[in-house]
């Protein structure tokens, strides 16, 4: 089995995502996952951005390289958002996560423009949670990506579940600065992706602890074998994150 990188985990502390770092490491070991991108939990996405980013950086610093920190900032913070992102990058953050539903904005809203320009300058991939209905349609992110060709976007969850019917068209129409992250996509739906998009743009993720990594790896491997798709399972996200400038 090649080196697996999980592109999205939430080592949370409350509600449905409590996950102490040692438990996450144990889950990764059980699943054969070498490294994982860790992102702030829901409250930290919505309001406690800076402290959430600092928590991710601290967890990563203590993980012997197994955790890769992501950061977030609510676009409604305006000018202050730039400082929060710069602080996170200085600490080692490698991905910016935006959650339109939790943070209360539409992806196509001009509110995000300054952040997306900054992310482009810094080569910082922007992970958009998609799936929530009014504020997370994959098509909204595609329009945004077309407007910001120098910014790299990760389409988190590929619109699971109810935008799945849009995905074939999206896979074919998306500009080259969009990658597709597969957590919450059903393993048995992977046939949809076969041959529809350059495989260099597919990224495996689990959304642990919402999902159980060992089960996701086991079932994805049945439908999208790890041995045949090393890019999906680690190389693609690794290459994306390697370009980030602090």
């Amino acid at each position: 089995m090649g080196q697996i990188v999980d592109a999205y985990c939430t080592p949370g502390t409350e509600r449905e995502t409590p996950l102490p770092p040692d438990d996450l490491l144990r889950m990764m070991d059980e699943a054969g996952i070498e490294r994982a991108v860790i992102a702030p939990e829901d409250r930290e996405m919505a309001v406690d951005n800076a402290s959430g980013n600092a928590r991710m950086i601290e967890l990563a610093d203590r993980s012997a390289g197994r955790f890769i920190p992501a950061c977030t900032v609510n676009p409604w913070r305006g000018q202050d958002a730039r400082r929060i992102v710069h602080d996170a990058l200085a600490g080692g953050a490698k991905m910016l996560v935006l959650s339109p539903m939790l943070q209360g904005f539409l992806p196509t809203d001009e509110l995000t423009d300054p952040l997306l320009e900054l992310a482009g300058e810094l080569r910082l991939p922007v992970y958009f949670h998609t799936g929530p209905h009014a504020t997370g349609a994959p098509t909204q992110v595609v329009l945004l990506a077309s407007r910001f060709p120098d910014t790299r976007f990760i389409l988190g969850h590929c619109g699971s579940t109810d935008y799945a019917d849009d995905m074939p068209a999206i896979l074919q129409a998306s500009p080259p600065n969009v990658w597709f992250e597969l957590s919450l996509v059903r393993p048995f739906a992977m046939s949809t992706y076969d041959g529809m998009v350059d495989e260099a743009r597919l990224i495996f993720g689990t959304s642990a602890p919402r999902n159980v990594p060992a089960v996701e790896v086991e079932h994805f491997n049945r439908h999208w074998p790890i041995a045949d798709h090393p890019g999906t399972y680690g190389q693609n996200i690794t290459a994306l994150l390697a370009e980030v400038r602090s």
């Binding site: 449905e16 995502t17 539903m101 799936g131 929530p132 209905h133 009014a134 699971s160 579940t161 109810d162 919450l184 059903r186 393993p187 048995f188 739906a189 046939s191 959304s207 602890p209 919402r210 999902n211 159980v212 089960v215 086991e218 079932h219």
Partner: protein
């Protein structure tokens, strides 16, 4: 006995097998699932094909030795046509439940026609199972209001709120005692909360099997293993609750 309360006699199976459920049942056999509540597929997307699809589902279920429990659909846009088809299904074709996919079918559920349908469903002890978790027509809260108006009709949230509306689904179950939740789609962390916080006597399990040829059952059974269910929970969710919900009788529960 394991009852899957969310399956379809999909268009793909109709095209491949006509009304022969042998290969469809092989999927259940692979995982030890004994029974399935079988809903239409093409009729949910194409109102003009509802009677034909209802006929096809009934025909397939009739050849299943009681393992496939038929669940019909109608389209409430045309009241007279909907009620006539519903009566045909419940009285002539042996249907035991009714399915609606208001998002796909494109109608609002809090209407006078749906009130009439709920009354008929109650008279036949036929539960109504909804696709849920998708605005603007398929929210658990919308179904909760319908359920409160019709306390003798059992209303099943077919996806328990999906990924974003599972907390709303919990609120819906708390609001109306006749709302049930089908563990078919929320991620495991949400399902753990649902099992812990909802009335255990109104929980069932489902897979969406048959919507396509994809093997959905193995994955969704595996997710249930992740919930650390007690033996009592498992018995309730996989057997006792669906038996009560669907009014299964001994003849229906034989596994040979």
């Amino acid at each position: 006995m394991i009852v899957d309360c969310h399956t379809h006699w999909g268009d793909c199976y109709q095209q491949q097998d006509g009304s022969d459920p042998t290969r469809w049942l092989e999927m259940l056999d692979r995982y030890g699932v004994t029974h399935g509540l079988v809903m239409p597929h093409i009729g949910l997307a194409h109102a003009g094909r509802i009677p034909l699809d209802n006929n096809q589902v009934a025909a397939a279920c009739a050849r299943s030795n009681g393992r496939m429990i038929p669940c019909c659909t109608v389209h409430p846009h045309d009241r007279d046509e909907a009620l006539a088809e519903l009566n045909r299904c419940l009285t002539e074709l042996g249907y035991r439940a009714i399915k609606f996919h208001p998002w796909l079918q494109g109608f609002s559920i809090n209407t006078a026609v749906m009130d009439e349908i709920c009354q008929i469903a109650a008279e036949h002890d036929a539960p109504i199972i909804f696709h849920d978790g998708t605005p603007p027509y398929s929210l658990p809260s919308q179904m909760a209001l319908l359920a409160r108006r019709h306390p003798h009709t059992q209303i099943v949230l077919g996806h328990f709120g999906l990924f974003e509306h599972w907390r709303e689904a919990m609120a819906a179950m708390a609001y109306a005692d006749n709302v049930w939740g089908c563990l078919c789609s929320p991620y495991p962390a949400a399902m753990r909360q649902l099992v812990r916080r909802c009335d255990p006597s109104r929980l069932v399990w489902g897979t969406d099997t048959g919507f396509s040829f994809a093997d959905m059952m193995g994955y969704r059974l595996r997710l249930m293993d992740m919930l650390d269910l007690t033996d009592d929970d498992r018995h309730a969710i996989f057997e006792a609750n669906p038996v009560r919900l669907l009014g299964l009788k001994p003849d229906d529960t034989r596994e040979d």
